[in-house]
């Protein structure tokens, strides 16, 4: 377990470190003069302001000095200020972060429940029409563009039926975006569960359980499902990362006031300090939560607990 966790922890640290480098140098990769691009947005920008910003971002120095300047600022919690409006970047992002986490985790719960149910029954009814229908529906689920699904749900349940608000905050506004975000991943989890369950059904201990004459539900839930869910649960960290990524698009459709909406606007406005802050916060959050999920998984899985590496 320790070696597994150490490795995961190492990767997490490495990722965060690489992100800081990538983010710090992002402004260097922009074609044209980033300072010109930033400041052409504010009609009254003076030469002094532009030079000050250049110095602030370390663009007047070499790459290494720029990186350490940026890192130093980060360590002091200074993520810079937005070009448009001069707002401090970090609080701006942190204000939106809970909304995104809320959306992603709700969607993860929905996707897991739906996906596991679906995959379990598909495996249980192997070879029947049930499996075919379920598996075809997962291919559909993977194929529908989330942004289109979101619009359709909005049109039907928001506008036509009026069951859910078309935008806003709070629980009832969360349902449609969470379902939209969950759809693709429910399909993926469903496929994962199915193949894992199929393997479990073939295994020796299952035959033993059946032959002992235990009730059907006991065999299925106690033995089969528990074993079959191991690979599914181990993939939770990855799933969560994809939920966070998917949230960017889904938020935009539903005007959900999260990091994704902020990021898309920032990219369209070329507000580089905000883009940098977003990428950094996003990957740190994803890395930390994936790590957390892995730790929980490792604590639960006896094979890893006993020192094996998965």
């Amino acid at each position: 377990m320790q070696s597994f966790l150490l490795r995961r922890f190492g990767v997490a640290l490495l990722t965060v470190w690489v992100t800081t480098i990538a983010v710090a140098l992002l402004t260097r990769l922009v074609p044209g003069d980033p300072i010109e691009i930033m400041f052409a947005q504010s009609a009254g920008a003076t030469r002094e302001q532009m030079l000050a910003m250049q110095a602030r971002l370390g663009l007047d120095r070499n790459v290494v000095a720029q990186y350490f300047l940026y890192l130093g600022n980060l360590l002091q919690g200074d993520f810079g200020r937005t070009i448009q409006g001069g707002q401090p970047v970090l609080p701006l992002i942190m204000q939106r972060l809970p909304n995104t986490l809320w959306l992603a985790s709700t969607a993860l719960v929905i996707a897991s429940i739906a996906g596991v149910t679906l995959g379990f029954f598909a495996a249980y009814k192997k070879g029947t029409w049930v499996e075919h229908v379920l598996m075809t529906s997962t291919v559909m689920g993977i194929s529908i563009p989330p942004f289109w699904l979101g619009l359709i749900l909005l049109m039907v349940f928001g506008m036509q039926l009026g069951w859910f608000p078309v935008a806003g905050a709070g629980w009832h506004a969360l349902v449609l975006p969470a379902v939209t975000l969950a759809a693709t991943n429910a399909a993926i989890i469903g496929r994962l569960t199915r193949s894992s369950m199929l393997e479990v059904f073939e295994q020796e201990f299952m035959r033993t359980a059946w032959s002992k004459g235990l009730p059907k539900t006991t065999v299925l839930s106690r033995h089969a499902l528990r074993a079959g869910l191991v690979p599914v649960v181990s993939a939770m960290g990855v799933q969560f990362a994809y939920m966070m990524g998917g949230a960017i698009v889904v938020e935009y459709i539903f005007s959900w006031n999260g990091m994704g909406t902020l990021a898309v606007d920032a990219i369209l406005r070329r507000d580089y300090p905000l883009i940098q802050g977003f990428i950094l916060v996003f990957s740190v959050v994803v890395v930390c939560i994936s790590l957390l999920l892995d730790v929980i998984y490792a604590a639960l899985d006896p094979r890893i607990r006993q020192g094996g590496d998965s």
């Binding site: 691009i37 052409a40 009609a43 002094e48 707002q87 078309v166 839930s221 005007s255």
Partner: protein, 522 residues
């Protein structure tokens, strides 16, 4: 193994809670809160930190200005009970009311005027609209209610600027607020800043000490509503739905829904006029083909704005023939039209033929504009019309900030494909032409010594009639040389839909909504 995930149990738990969600009552409003929904958020609470209309409209609620505007857009006394311009135009003095209170409880006096100006002119963080103040050298404060601005040169556009939200008066108390612009904003306006959750909502409360001295609103004192909530709802359909459900009282409607609103007894439509907004075409004149006036004129003849506007907006905007928009001094449609370009594709083809282009050898250009306000639709119509005469325009639609950057880059580029753009500016004074076209110009674009001299005169001529005559000369120059081809007005955020039980809602000149006199009827 320790897993206890049980889908069946989980489903049992999830279903009832989903049902609860369905039954949850929609967000209920207090009767004392006025909710105004817009498509986007402010950039900052600091009036020196941004230029967007969205920001400016909020500053107008929190801060007040030395002068206000009457319904014709002319400056009238407000925080200043009177003002005087010296004969040489080098001094403008204001007499302030002595009973104005800042939101932090301190008294507003001439020192606050100095503070505001010094901040706008500071080296570290000058105002984005610093140039609009003109060549102010210093301010004298002979007593606490008198502020005298001194100029190095006469500046005719200064007095109207004092009625603009960009010249909002700040209280000195902001100096001690670390979060000024983000979590704090101390002004003297009708509404007191309470909170701002970025991307979501701004909450303001009625200022009990407010005295309405110059604003148009039909209310002499503090706002009738206890609170004002300015909410961000990005989607037009969402704003409309929220308006219909009563969750929101005032909102910008989607253009596509305007006819529905007009026939809806529960909703009223307000159309801002005299907004000062001017949407126009400009060119990268630094290089071929648009360094040649014939190419610019060909574009002007080829397009038919009336058709484009009808398709994109119906009757919701006006054709604009002048380079200063309707509502601004110097706007004279008949005069401008007499020198303007009527739709004439034949003329366009003839001009292009002179340049060696026709349908088989089309002129390839880039055509840019900024997102929103149905502008990309206008551009698509233009693209179609240009194609009829042999101009292939590829469209690029981007954020206004990126567009500003791009236009400047194009102007500084001396080779490659030609570039033009549909730009929009809003200003309350013909001085806009100086800001746009006096070299180096807003985008380092057109440079001409002759034009520069005329523009300079529009700043220093203190006789109003002489100044306006010069403004007309400038307009004539710009239009005849096809530097600035006016298209339409208003161009953005000029439509408001309100529930019909809203009384006293006013959209003042230059698109400034006033909510002081708003009351909710049952």
């Amino acid at each position: 193994m320790k897993f206890s995930v049980r889908p069946v149990r989980a489903a049992q738990w999830l279903l009832p809670s989903a049902a609860c969600l369905l039954l949850a009552a929609p967000y209920a409003l207090s009767d004392d809160t006025l909710v105004w929904a817009r498509y986007g958020d402010i950039d900052t609470l600091d009036p020196h930190g941004a230029t967007s209309t969205l920001s400016m409209q909020v500053w107008h609620q929190i801060y007040d200005t030395l002068l206000a505007r009457d319904s014709d857009g002319q400056p009238v006394p407000n925080m200043a009970e009177s003002w005087a311009v010296s004969d040489d135009g080098l001094m403008v003095s204001f007499n302030l009311h002595d009973d104005i209170l800042c939101h932090d409880g301190s008294a507003f006096d001439a020192e606050d005027v100095v503070y505001t100006w010094e901040r706008a002119f500071s080296d570290s963080r000058p105002s984005n609209t610093q140039s609009a103040w003109g060549p102010v050298t210093h301010i004298d404060t002979p007593d606490s209610t008198t502020a005298v601005f001194h100029f190095s040169e006469p500046f005719a556009a200064f007095v109207p600027f004092m009625a603009d939200p960009f010249a909002s008066m700040l209280c000195r108390g902001n100096e001690d607020e670390a979060g000024f612009g983000t979590s704090a904003a101390i002004g003297t306006g009708p509404w007191v800043f309470e909170s701002w959750r970025s991307g979501d909502r701004i909450l303001l409360s009625s200022n009990p000490d407010y005295i309405n001295r110059g604003r148009l609103a039909d209310n002499p004192g503090s706002p009738y509503m206890a609170e004002l909530e300015i909410r961000v709802l990005r989607e037009g359909q969402s704003r409309l739905a929220a308006l219909r459900s009563g969750e929101v009282h005032i909102a910008e409607p989607p253009i596509e829904a305007v006819s529905n609103i007009q026939s809806d007894a529960e909703l009223d439509l307000y159309i801002a006029d005299n907004t000062g907004q001017n949407v126009f075409i400009e060119f990268a004149i630094s290089r071929a083909p648009f360094d040649d006036v014939r190419a610019r004129r060909a574009v002007a003849y080829a397009i038919d704005p009336d058709v484009a506007l009808q398709l994109a907006f119906g009757d919701l905007v006006n054709r604009e023939w002048c380079t200063v928009a309707q509502g601004v001094a110097g706007n004279d449609q008949d005069f401008c039209r007499s020198i303007g370009y009527e739709h004439d594709p034949e003329q366009a083809r003839a001009l292009l033929a002179e340049l060696g282009h026709d349908m088989n050898n089309p002129l390839e250009v880039k055509f840019m504009t900024w997102t929103g306000g149905n502008r990309q639709r206008v551009l698509q119509v233009f693209q179609n019309q240009l194609r009829q005469v042999g101009i292939n325009a590829s469209l690029e639609v981007m954020d206004i900030g990126s567009l500003n950057a791009q236009v400047q880059t194009e102007n500084l580029t001396t080779s490659g494909r030609g570039s033009m753009d549909m730009m929009g500016w809003s200003w309350y004074d013909p001085d806009i032409l100086h800001q746009l076209w006096h070299s180096p110009g807003a985008y380092q674009g057109y440079n001409s010594a002759e034009l520069d001299e005329m523009l300079h005169q529009t700043r220093v001529l203190s006789d109003e009639a002489e100044r306006l005559a010069m403004v007309q000369n400038v307009q004539q120059y710009l239009i005849e040389n096809a530097v600035h081809i006016p298209l339409y007005t208003p161009g953005w955020e000029w439509l408001y839909a309100a529930r019909s039980n809203i009384d006293g809602f006013i959209v003042g000149p230059f698109n400034q909504p006033d909510l002081i006199g708003v009351r909710l009827n049952d």
